[in-house]
Assembly symmetry: C2
Homo-oligomer: 219 residues x 2
């Protein structure tokens, strides 16, 4: 009853090689880069929007927006007047390093301090492709249910930061933080966990402080 579908190893090797190039390019310019992953509707776009709103006077941001099709999210970013590149995967379920390599060749990187890359909404495929960012972030909404780390362990295990989003809905949803964190620690002992609501702003300052620390520490 088991079947494993594997993309050829060579494809991953080629991807990892390009991911390393991307990482080198970004590091050389002291750009702090985030790969924002999560289910459809987990709140990835709003998380980036609120971060930019909070810090736009302190840092110069760039955004690479990954979607199957359309430019809905890119339009949401227009009001910030910051460099934004739309990648449409045309059916592809994730971004890969080559797409990011091309995207960053179209932005003037000299004017960017922090780069957000919003991946395709998906808990499976994006986990398998390193795209060369400094930090992988999984945005998880409490509406998705307690069992998701057990069902989709890879994406949590490759993430440096887990944002537990939509905590404003806690009064109306059963969610067991203790159990969720216990399972999360099993797949990633070092993952940074931040609980917040991008919608109401509750606890959002914790993320903002953490981002500022990262920027100070690493660059």
């Amino acid at each position: 009853m088991f079947k494993v579908i594997r993309i050829e190893e060579s494809l991953f090797e080629e991807n990892d090689k390009i991911a390393k190039e991307v990482k080198d390019t970004l590091r050389k310019r002291k750009i702090l880069s985030f790969n924002i992953m999560g289910s459809p509707g987990s709140g990835k776009t709003l998380f980036i929007e609120r971060t930019v709103e909070n810090l736009k006077d302190k840092f110069n941001f760039g955004i690479i927006e990954g979607d199957i099709e359309g430019t809905l999210d890119t339009e949401r970013f227009k009001r910030f007047n910051i460099p934004t590149i739309q990648i449409n995967t045309g059916g592809g379920c994730h971004l890969d390093a080559n797409m990011i390599k091309k995207a960053i060749s179209e932005i003037n990187l000299n004017h960017i301090d922090v780069l957000f890359i919003e991946n395709v909404g998906n808990l499976v495929c994006p986990a398998e492709f390193d795209i060369g960012t400094e930090k992988n972030v999984i945005i998880f909404s409490i509406t998705e249910g307690n069992d998701k780390v057990i069902k989709y362990p890879l994406i949590f295990s490759v993430s440096d930061i887990c944002v537990i989003n939509k905590i404003d809905l806690l009064p109306y949803i059963e969610f067991d933080f203790e159990n969720f964190e216990k399972n999360l620690r099993k797949v990633s002992s070092k993952i940074k966990i931040i609980k917040l609501s991008s919608k109401t702003g509750q606890n959002f300052e914790k993320w903002i402080e953490y981002l500022k620390e990262l920027k100070k520490k690493e660059f």
Copy 2:
């Protein structure tokens, strides 16, 4: 800035051939089969559970449970004491027709009236693979946001039924049904839309009545 990742056409052709075999096998036995798709946490498992609870005295059910790994959902079905097969894709982001062909060879189909196949939680990949079911169902939670039909049109366009789930959360979430349905009708004019809450049971009887009708009409 565009890149299209395509799985080879031959792979789809082969899949469609096997899907047809699966469909013929199920039809011959008058089994009404559903491919239950949706994002992680949209409520697919609870939807199936509540349906079985409602109709277990009327129909004999079978369940095929697709997950990346683990048997969490299959264990939730144990209490019903009905034939349940777990497929673990080992990283694969969707079920395919061949997995279902193998799974149904392990169930005694003579005793099944209604077969639920729960696909991997994902709005992208499952849409591309026909698995031979009579009806494709997309379970969509209002917590996922209004823009999802525009961002993931394929999965909605291949679905026969759209269950808009978690309507019990309506007082706490901004969700514009009219706008959502307008976009949905654009990608699929004939799709059957049912709004309900699998958790509270609100409107669930509408789905139950519809299932009974389908069973009468088609088989």
